[in-house]
Symmetry: C2
Subunit: 366 residues, 2 copies
């Protein structure tokens, strides 16, 4: 990514107008401004606009500004449809997109209102942070993330090209899906894990300190996203309720089947049903792409690292000196321990040599 070229700048005359100066809107503004695009900002809160402008995400829109080439609606999910409608009416010649994380509900709502949606192309950059607001905005927020674009057969090629140019300018990967495909996909890979993680973590509220004290890495990993913002998720889950209910019901029925088999272990085939569900988990996790998900392709080396500054850097530097490419890294600490573990994924063919070389240099491996 170089800040000197822009896919978008060559395609648009007039500013890009961003409605909603929170985390996503301000990040879009910051990223496009870095590419030399003129960005105007609008928000119900004048403070938010001023703050985002101070951060360099754009400038407040003036009466004298020309109609924007593109409007990006980046409001909270529950007012997205209203904001899109107002933008389409106010700027009849602009292409309008939104970045909400649910795509069918606003589209259906706008259709129900009888609006001409030719100039509207919904989209969803799969990026975010645990906390929102313009203060958290970053020009690089969308780098290397999928940016889903929901076109239909009426979408003009030039409108589609505009949204793709925004996605590419911001460093993300544009992907086309229908709103239905998108909502079903995120209900499974994003919304279900959120609900499951939150409800699992909720079970820890009444636990004894003694029990919590035994928590290991498995519990930490499964509950990390349970720290997400409840208010935002009430809106997201409400807007995508049909697909979410469907995957939640399938999950709930698996939980019930599992508990049933456990409740009556002498029942014919009970142990087999438990084993089958656990094995299905093995197969499911193996399907996830990316470095963690393809862990079967890599061998893992676990190295003990003293919990003091510079030790991990020294380990990684020595790995580099040994010519060993690290495919992935996980750290694990136990509470109160003066030592941690670095789990390093490497290609299987170099694992044995890596361990031998590290041990020779005085590292302890598990």
């Amino acid at each position: 990514m170089s800040a000197s070229t822009s896919e978008l700048a060559s395609r648009v005359r007039g500013p890009v107008h961003v409605i909603g100066a929170g985390l996503l809107g301000a990040s879009v503004g910051l990223g496009l401004r870095e590419r030399g695009v003129d960005v105007t900002l609008e928000d119900l809160s004048p403070t938010s606009v001023a703050l985002a402008a101070d951060y360099g995400a754009g400038r407040a829109r003036a009466e004298s500004d020309p109609e924007p080439a593109l409007v990006v609606v980046a409001t909270p999910p529950d007012v997205t449809a209203d904001a899109i409608e107002r933008a389409l009416i106010r700027f009849p010649n602009s292409v309008v997109t939104d970045v909400a994380s649910v795509k069918l509900a606003p589209f259906e709502e706008l259709t129900r209102r009888g609006l001409d949606l030719t100039n509207y192309v919904g989209s969803h950059p799969m990026a975010g942070r645990e906390r929102g607001g313009a203060i958290m905005a970053r020009a690089d927020l969308f780098v290397a993330r999928p940016w889903i674009i929901c076109r239909d057969h009426e979408t003009p090629a030039e409108a589609l090209a505009l949204i793709e140019a925004v996605a590419l300018d911001l460093g993300s990967t544009p992907l086309e899906m229908t709103p239905q495909e998108h909502d079903r996909a995120v209900s499974l890979v994003s919304h279900l894990p959120q609900v499951v993680s939150s409800l699992l973590a909720a079970r820890l509220v009444p636990a004894t300190d003694q029990a919590i004290g035994l928590a290991g890495q498995g519990l930490r990993d499964t509950t990390r996203i349970a720290s997400s913002d409840p208010e935002l998720w009430v809106q997201i889950l409400g807007a995508n309720r049909r697909p979410v209910i469907e995957v939640l019901e399938a999950f709930q029925s698996d939980v019930a089947a599992f508990a049933d088999a456990l409740r009556d272990p002498e029942q014919q085939g009970a142990k087999r049903r438990i084993a089958d569900l656990l094995s299905a988990g093995n197969r499911g996790v193996a399907r996830i792409p990316g470095k963690h998900g393809t862990s079967e392709r890599f061998a893992k080396i676990t190295v003990l690292v003293d919990d003091r500054p510079g030790e991990l850097a020294r380990l990684l530097t020595e790995l580099g000196e040994l010519g060993i490419n690290m495919e992935d890294l996980r750290l694990e600490h136990s509470p109160g321990a003066q030592i941690g573990f670095a789990e390093i994924a490497v290609l299987p063919e170099v694992a044995e040599r890596a361990v031998a070389d590290l041990v020779e240099r005085g590292w302890r491996t598990l």
Copy 2:
């Protein structure tokens, strides 16, 4: 930890006898041998004994060997009670412990059989690896992990001291609990997360490639432990079925309540019930100790790292040069991306300076 001193060696005359030469048994053997303790091994499979002995975990027990000072039963969970019974009968003057991950079921079974359990003290070192077997064994497997010891009022002080000495020799932290407390605690912090993660991952089996392609870090974290060994977990969950069923039922009832509220959003208080469950998740995850769990104590800095050898080492080295102590580190990669993110936890008071210094050195932060 220094290999030159042993808590145990000063207390025992005669060898420590390990029954079951798999991951845990061989690791106990390796660790104690490093402390100069004489370790004898036994397994239903002569090959396993020979292999563990080759790795340095001990020697096969000979007829002429004296009665062991301590017997450690490290068999699969479903034969633990049988192995403990045989050991108590064969070695009436030895202290006998086991390392199974469920504590009440073997104790009840042995009581039912009318055995004198004065010399038996159950224990559970909370350590393991995704794959088992003596090949995976390590002397350091138990370092910095809790080692739960289930004494009762009849347990002789000397027997308890022996097990504590083993735990300390192996680098772990001894903790006393009743079998009931232990089983209830692990049902919540270990067994429930395993079942939930497996069932969540199982939902990915029928998913489209398109949906799986949108998987992010949240899904990866929540499903990582779903790659655990089904056969082992069928035994563990079966042996701890009562507490597991109880937490699973509470979890299932939360899932049902959540789906209900989502199904009928116009119902009085439906949105509030969803928000309350998500907020309980916030509170639950905040209770988890350790560096990840106490993330609110730390500020997070996200740095973009090119996906090429040495870049992460360079980043960590520079952090060291800047005098910034890293409290935790997470890596995140997107499939196909040439860039990754390193999320670094630091003390809040140094975060601003750390970002400024890193940016000055040419790093990009999010």
